[in-house]
């Protein structure tokens, strides 16, 4: 197996509510997982099982109440300056609702160029916008439109293009095709598979559609009672 990019060790997460009477709900308990180069870990399970919470923790968007997340062997909490920036750039997340992840007031061109700004690319480097559009299978004519003028599938491609500009090592895909039509879902899944083959990106793929996970994943896990359970072939068949 190729190198491990992201590793979660003994991750736990509990949410507490209430001020006077404090109640805690344990969502994740002692979860250990690995995302390797060019590999896909699929995560299945019903709504509310903690899939998205785990994804957000691994992406560094939320802090676990127990355990740690390591990026290339380094604890996320210890990352500073350049290292932290590198982590932020190389680990990207794609959400279910593409419209919700794009600024509705910005043209597609602006949305893509602001990512290049982050990388410090100016002037001629902007040609990259067109290249990445081609990778995700869109024509340059979408550049001057707003997200509301594009279809769900087109917007999801734009969200993917934004992530790709940052040359990610890991993509965390949280229900990336659930809001899309079946024929568009098939297009996006093929695109994700091709990108992984060409660039060796590691995926953490969350979906409650077993077939979607089965299409891309090298291994599949589910969260049951807060714990991560690895599923083997036949068990997968059942559950799914």
């Amino acid at each position: 197996m190729l190198g491990t990019l992201l590793r979660g060790v003994g991750i736990g997460k509990a949410f507490s509510r209430g001020i006077v009477r404090r109640r805690t709900r344990v969502v994740l308990e002692d979860v250990t997982l690995e995302i390797g180069e060019g590999r896909t870990l699929g995560l299945v399970g019903p709504s509310g099982s903690g899939k998205t919470t785990l994804a957000r923790i691994v992406a560094g968007l939320e802090t676990p109440t127990a355990g740690r997340v390591l990026y290339r062997g380094r604890d996320l909490r210890d990352l500073r300056g350049g290292e932290r920036k590198a982590f932020r750039r190389r680990v990207q997340m794609i959400f279910q609702d593409p419209e919700g992840s794009l600024n509705p007031r910005k043209t597609i061109r602006r949305s893509l160029e602001e990512v290049l700004d982050l990388r410090g690319v100016r002037g001629e480097g902007r040609g990259e916008v067109r290249e990445v559009l081609e990778v995700v299978g869109l024509e340059a004519e979408v550049l001057d439109r707003l997200p509301s003028q594009l279809s769900g599938g087109q917007n999801q491609r734009i969200a993917l293009a934004r992530a790709l500009i940052l040359e990610p090592e890991v993509l965390i895909l949280d229900e990336p095709t659930s809001a899309l039509d079946v024929s568009v879902q098939a297009q996006i899944l093929h695109l994700l598979r091709d990108l992984q083959r060409e660039r060796g990106i590691g995926y953490l793929l969350i979906s409650h559609h077993p077939e979607v996970v089965g299409f891309l994943a090298d291994e599949v896990a589910a969260i049951r009672g807060g714990r991560l359970v690895r599923l083997e072939g036949e068990v997968r068949g059942d559950l799914l």
Binding site: D181, V182, V184, Q187, L189, F215
Partner: protein
């Protein structure tokens, strides 16, 4: 011997031997019903009331959409949302209207209920129990809505009123439907809510219930007035798989309770397979294929139906190349030809002919 039948410049169907075969799979019973209802159709030379031998009659037709076209003038040009749509729904039958986002499914539903924005340009006829709904005034139409045709919307949290209990809202539907006194309406509401597994929950507000329970409350509200037709617009979109089947069962309960017909709008072919009797596949505003569910799903005749099925998870996720055409700039000839694996230059030459094998209808040049 076949002769095309035209009316008002629109291709209505053709005469084949002794039968009148109408575009869009309209069966003879509709024609009869229209002929017997006084003002429905004025005779202008077309043949009607002709029987189609060998076809089992499955009850009379309740809803008949004939040559419906809906256009929206916009700054970017005219949006062709529905183009020459013809559909039939018989009594107690469920017709599933399937297709991808933006193909015009919801526009068809909104046309039936006349809920389209005022700037929409609507052509065609929509016969419901012998009357052309497009000819009714707002007052008469308001009586049809809720009482004779009810609707289940996609998003219960947006469609239920947050400041009233669900019992109140279901009872309100019964009242508007004119089926009960205020007190009677409440008890009807309670009884239908318990049929749907919400016994004793009538006093609760939408925020106290889960999304699935709210969806059931919506279904109860749609069914309580005893509608003859229920229109369900993507009732399962965005739900977990278990909830999807639950909602399908609940819709069936309501339908059986009232012996209603149903127009089910969905992009989920599996939901259509489990729930519907017949299927109509829409693409870019047109109905491209219609027929019994099993026929269309097992042996699709239109290349788009086939491509759609092949993109399903169970069929290997084969994507359809390209994307649906813009509703403003539509391709010449067959609308699907730019994405069709069997397309030939001739497919651009004009609108494809309507074909039939007696059970179903599809629009294709069949150059293959």
């Amino acid at each position: 011997m076949e002769d095309a039948v035209w009316r008002g410049g629109r291709h209505l169907g053709r005469i084949h031997g002794d039968e009148l075969i109408l575009a869009g799979g309209i069966n003879r019973s509709r024609v009869e019903e229209m002929a017997s209802s006084s003002s429905a159709v004025n005779g202008d030379g077309e043949r009607r009331g002709v029987s189609r031998p060998g076809e089992k009659l499955q009850g009379e037709t309740l809803l008949s959409i004939l040559g419906l076209s809906v256009k929206f003038p916009t700054e970017a040009g005219t949006v062709h949302a529905a183009v020459d749509v013809s559909l039939d729904i018989r009594r107690e039958e469920t017709l599933a209207l399937v297709g991808e986002t933006g193909c015009g499914k919801s526009v068809v539903a909104a046309s039936v209920l006349q809920l389209l924005p005022s700037y929409a340009k609507v052509k065609g006829e929509i016969f419901f129990g012998g009357r052309d709904l497009l000819g009714l005034g707002e007052r008469e139409m308001a009586r049809v809505r809720g009482r004779e045709i009810s609707m289940i919307f996609q998003n219960p949290s947006l469609s239920l009123n947050p400041v009233y209990t669900i019992g109140h809202q279901v009872a309100e539907s019964a009242l508007i439907g004119g089926r009960a006194s205020p007190a009677g309406a409440r008890s009807m509401a309670d009884s239908i809510l318990s049929r749907l597994g919400l016994a004793g929950r009538g006093g609760m507000y939408p925020f106290q219930l889960s999304g699935g329970m709210n969806q059931r409350a919506m279904i109860a509200a749609a069914g309580v007035a005893g509608p003859r037709l229920i229109i369900a617009d993507e009732p399962t979109k965005g739900l977990d798989q278990e909830l999807v089947w639950e909602v399908c069962r609940e819709i069936d309960i309501i339908k059986d309770l009232n012996r209603s017909s149903m127009l089910l709008i969905t992009h989920d072919l599996e939901v259509a397979r489990r729930t519907a009797d017949r299927l109509a596949v829409m693409y870019a505003g047109e109905v491209v294929e219609t027929g019994p569910v099993a026929d269309v799903l097992e042996r699709p005749r239109h290349p788009y139906s086939l491509a759609l099925l092949k993109s399903l998870p169970g069929q290997g996720f084969h994507p359809i190349p390209g994307s649906s055409p813009s509703a403003v700039r539509r391709p010449p000839g067959c609308l699907f030809h730019p994405r069709c694996s069997w397309a030939e230059p001739g497919c651009r030459s004009g609108p494809p002919p309507l074909r039939s094998d007696g059970r179903r209808w599809w629009r294709c040049w069949e150059r293959c």
